[in-house]
Amino acid sequence: MIPPNFEYFAPNTLGDAVSLLERYGEDAKILAGGQSLIPLMKLRLASPRFIVDLNQIQGLEYVRESDSYLRIGALTRVTDLEASEMVRKKYPVIYDVAAHIADPLVRNMGTVGGNIAHGDPANDLPAVMLALNAEFIAISPTGERTIKAEEFFIDSFTTALKPSEVLTEARVAMPPARSGGAYLKLEKRVGDFAIAGVATQLTVDGRGVCERVGIGLTSAGPTPLKPKKAEESLRGKKPDDSAIKRTADLAADNANPRSDLRGPAEYKREMFRVLTIRALRNALSRVSGGS
């Protein structure tokens, strides 16, 4: 399969990248890891006339903590997220997801920014970003802005980014003590997109009451989903069996999966229920100072 031809640019600076994007507007596409864009071009589901390759721009690949945020550069490869000792220890939900996105070959190329900006409701990182209440930093010819994860995913393959904007960073407020998270993904075979995926992030106070509750769902409808009623139902409560079950019921009710080759909608909804229960329990077991 041969993609349609295009004009290729590999700018060295973000400034050059955004001015090219501004010049060519809807006719241009950003190339990051290419692991979603190139397959789409081969199928001719995307035919950009201009490609702006970000890979020559220095300084967009990093995972670090600063100013009370975990900051992940947009060009960070999923493999590098998976390999980060700090991520594994302090952000288990991010480690879980990184280890389950696609396969090792795709993860060697695929980027954090691309996984988020693609706006695919079957991509795994967006649900984690929603559970963590992440923020995204985007740069355009008029400057920089910060977009909340919750306001970023507008429709299938449609995000809040304008054609001339580049996502440069995803950032997550460093969680307080007694926090834990988990991502669980049900897949038909290794390396496939999720039948259902659930991200959880909890902070528990000294009395064992949930102070903060974050949940995100993958493959649960036209966009990655943040089931707010489910989150609210657990906030301020002790996460006992009945509270967890109620939260999972609400999350499953909120999910709006479609019947397809990966299973009927009813089955998937049930899986959201089961995975939410398990992901909440995993998150609790990882709360430092917890059992």
Binding site: I2, E7, I38, P104, V106, N108, M109, G191
Partner: protein, 167 residues
């Protein structure tokens, strides 16, 4: 720098190669058709099977899911670059000794994925080997012999390392 046609230079298996390519040319087509290195296979052409795996800039990637222009200025290793002076690379030897192939179609990709895995982790567990090759599909072997082949190679490479270090 912009063009629908571009001049690229790639270090392929230690040799500088160059050519004029259309921007849309996939890396796998550059390797097979422009360079004439047909060890790298096209299995699915839809980014799923890993038969086209090569090591670019030190990392195993699917060459059907990359443009040749993205390899400009980089080091590319294909299965043809592994044997040295007529002697098989330990990973190739492992597939030979342990019967890691039947039809052989997936083999070059498996070997390149295993190569990257062993660079990162010279002493992998069986679980780590299985995870490391999980982007490479084999329709014949059931993977058991492939895992044994990689274990054989890991062992042999560790012994060679130790011999070099002892010198």
């Amino acid at each position: 720098m912009s063009m629908t046609k571009m001049h690229i230079r790639v270090n392929v298996n230690g040799v500088e190669r160059e050519g004029d390519v259309q921007a849309r040319l996939l890396l796998v087509h550059f390797i097979r058709e422009v360079l004439g290195l047909t060890g790298t296979h096209i299995g699915c052409d839809t980014s799923n099977c890993g038969a086209c795996t090569v090591v670019l800039g030190g990392k195993a990637v699917k060459s059907c899911t990359l443009f040749a222009v993205q390899a400009n200025g980089k080091k590319l290793l294909t299965v043809e670059g592994l044997a040295k002076e007529g002697k098989l690379h330990p990973i190739q030897e492992g597939f030979w000794e342990k019967h890691g192939l039947q039809c052989g179609f997936c083999t070059p990709g498996m070997i390149m994925a295993a190569y990257h895995l062993l660079q990162k982790n010279p002493n992998p567990t069986e679980e780590e080997i299985r995870r490391g090759i999980s982007g490479n599909l084999c329709r014949c072997t059931g993977y058991v012999k492939i895992v044994e082949s990689v274990q054989y190679a890991a062992e042999k490479m560790r012994v060679q390392e130790a011999q070099v270090a002892a010198r």
